[in-house]
């Protein structure tokens, strides 16, 4: 079922949560609403579900305007950050809830409900827990039950509000992959809210980056990551070094060091700009490979797993540079704290104000 969000605006006393948001989502897509906390992403999700009302704008599901439908008639599955399982009901009754509360004319028979619940529990691999109570389950298990409960009523769309953020790192990763697979199997149009860029990049077909109630960028994970539309998106998607510089003679000058950029900056008048460099796009070497290499001193080495993080102090740059190199490179170069190395800035992106140039 496609979702059409048109000019949704919502303000609270003192701030605007959503400022004229429009977005269309195709049938079967898995969309991430990504943004910092307080950016309005959860509000948008709750408006689609009918748990909040927008001040302006409309929500169209398939071809039907559902803006003013009460939440219980929207037929939208909602998964909450803290699961919101019914604590006094066991797993079976939790999943069966949506089927049991239907008016008797539309209600399925007891055995049909039972079959449906068992099918869903199988789908979320929790059929063994049918008699358990929510308090007897782990966070990851509870969230699976919450998902089964939401799917039980055959929702037109599935909305997930930070579904994994209350889980620990390992379970989060596992459940994320599992959800991706589940989505491929059942293909219900889904929107999930997250502040975790990694989660959005890994899971979503398309990412909507939201900041201060506005959409900053909309695109596939690759587009958003490789071609951030503006400084905010660049900053928000992954670690990044930011340096204040000045654009002069087609180059950006940071401190007193002119840095090569992939694009020509000719024709731009001299002005201030911000240079963005991702840590993994910084090369470190014992040998100078080009004139523009910087000379840096390793201040700190952090072992982060497969990657090694380096803090580099360079002459001319007012801040330490964060670099990430593969473990093998680190081992081959035999780098130690205090060593002098040559630093290559491979991919520098420059924005002035909020615009890329």
């Amino acid at each position: 079922m496609s979702i059409e969000i048109r000019n949704i605006t919502k303000s609270y006393p003192g701030y605007t949560a959503l400022d004229d948001i429009s977005l269309s989502i195709r049938t079967g897509e898995l969309i991430a609403l990504l943004g910092p906390s307080g950016c309005g992403k959860t509000t948008l999700l709750r408006i689609i579900a009918g748990l909040e009302t927008a001040d302006k704008g409309s929500i169209i599901l398939e071809d039907k305007d559902t803006t003013n439908l009460p939440a219980r008639e929207k037929n939208v599955g909602f998964v909450f950050q803290h699961y919101a399982l019914f604590r006094r009901l066991n797993v079976f009754d939790n999943v069966a809830f949506g089927l049991n509360v239907r008016p008797s004319s539309q209600r399925q028979s007891k055995s049909e409900i039972r079959d449906r619940v068992m099918h869903l529990l199988q789908l979320v691999q929790m059929e063994w827990a049918v008699k358990r109570y929510p308090s007897q389950l782990s966070g990851g298990q509870r969230q699976r039950i919450a998902l089964a409960r939401a799917l039980a009523v055959n929702p037109k769309v599935l909305l997930l509000d930070e579904p994994f953020s209350a889980l620990d790192a390992k379970v989060r990763l596992e459940l994320r992959r599992w959800l991706r697979k589940l989505h491929e199997d059942i293909h219900v149009t889904s929107i999930f809210v997250t502040h975790d860029q990694e989660e959005a990049l890994e899971l979503a077909d398309r990412i909507v980056v939201i900041n201060k109630g506005k959409i900053e960028q909309l695109g596939s994970p690759q587009e958003v990551y490789d071609h951030p539309a503006n400084a905010f998106v660049y900053n928000f998607l992954g670690n990044v070094n930011v340096f204040q510089g000045r654009i002069r003679n087609g180059k950006v000058v940071i401190g007193d060091h002119p840095v090569d950029t992939p694009h020509l900056l000719d024709g731009h008048e001299e002005k201030n700009g911000q240079a963005f460099i991702r840590p993994h796009e910084i090369g470190v070497s014992r040998i100078r490979s080009s004139e523009s290499d910087l000379v840096g001193k390793i201040r700190d080495i952090r072992i982060m797993g497969s990657q090694i993080g380096l803090e580099l102090e360079t002459t001319g740059f007012e801040k330490l540079i964060e670099a990430e190199i593969p473990r093998d490179t680190w081992r081959n170069l035999q780098l130690n704290r205090g060593d002098e190395v040559f630093v290559t800035l491979n991919k520098v992106k420059v924005f002035t104000g909020d615009y890329e140039i």
Binding site: L51, F78, L85, F97, A150
Partner: protein, 285 residues
């Protein structure tokens, strides 16, 4: 890190074990003394006074028609007041904890009013409002409705004095439980009444029970507000506490204490139920 944690634990256990045993004993003894002086002794006195002139007189005193009428009126009042305040308390707690609206802070503060004002004043307010000399009261009188100096007045005064108990008990509980379960139920297609019956009520039932017990205890024992609106008509508008007071002021000590012992008995029963409920709530968490 490791060492600092160990050290911290060490200081905590150290300070606890350093607490001299004499101080502990003294504090425990003081608590017991206080209980003995202010609770056990008076309780024992009530029963010894009541039984001073023999079991027969005690039984006669509590079986006397006026005493029975007083017990009946007290129980009727509680039977009306407690369910009404339960409904009111759930409604108020629901509104306050699950919605945000203008005047919410004011409502929460007003909820404490019956605790803050003296019950006598509460009674007086109703006399001034619906007493026979007021326009509203005389209008009611013309239509044959008597509130002051009759059962409705006693019920209203008791309602007022006891209405915060249930709401006060439920607001923190419902606030801590949040709205998510109800929201989940709504998105799954449940109607308001279904949400309340299947989700909300089971979640708050023990808190509700606890609030209702406190409400019962207070409505049985209420003296001040009821005293003002009752008129002390024996056999008609006398509740147990009022009857005790009348007997006492007539120097009929034995009968007075005998009737008081009923009150004590009712109070002890409520405390016992309260204890059981508390234990259950504790086990449930």
């Amino acid at each position: 890190m490791q060492t600092s944690t160990t050290r911290q634990t060490a200081t905590i256990t150290g300070s606890r074990s350093k607490d001299p045993i004499a101080v502990q004993l003294l504090l425990i003894a003081l608590t017991f003394l206080f209980f003995a002086g202010f609770i056990f002794m008076p309780l024992a006195l009530v029963f010894s006074q009541a039984l001073q002139k023999g079991v027969q007189l005690y039984l006669d005193s509590i079986r006397e028609p006026y005493a029975l009428e007083a017990v009946k009126l007290t129980l009727i009042t509680a039977a009306i007041v407690v369910p009404l305040n339960a409904v009111f308390g759930v409604t108020a707690a629901w509104a306050i904890s699950k919605f945000s609206f203008k005047g919410k802070t004011l409502l929460v503060s007003l909820l404490d009013l019956p605790f803050a004002v003296s019950p006598v004043i509460a009674g007086l307010i109703f006399v001034l409002l619906v007493g026979s000399r007021t326009p509203f009261g005389s209008w009611l009188g013309e239509h044959g409705i008597k509130i002051i100096f009759s059962t409705p007045g006693i019920v209203i005064a008791t309602l007022f004095v006891t209405f915060p108990f249930v709401a006060r008990e439920l607001i923190p509980l419902m606030e801590s439980q949040g709205r998510e379960e109800e929201e989940a139920a709504i998105t799954l297609g449940a109607r308001g009444w279904q949400v309340f019956r299947i989700i909300t009520l089971p979640n708050i039932r023990w808190g509700l029970m606890y609030g209702m017990i406190l409400c019962t205890a207070r409505s049985i024992g209420e003296f001040g507000a009821v005293s003002v609106v009752s008129g002390h008509i024996r056999g008609m508008t006398n509740t147990i506490p009022l009857h005790v007071e009348i007997l006492y002021s007539e120097y009929n000590y034995t009968a007075s204490f005998a009737v008081a012992s009923i009150l004590v008995f009712l109070a002890l029963t409520t405390v016992a139920i309260k204890g059981a409920v508390e234990k259950h709530v504790h086990n449930n968490q």
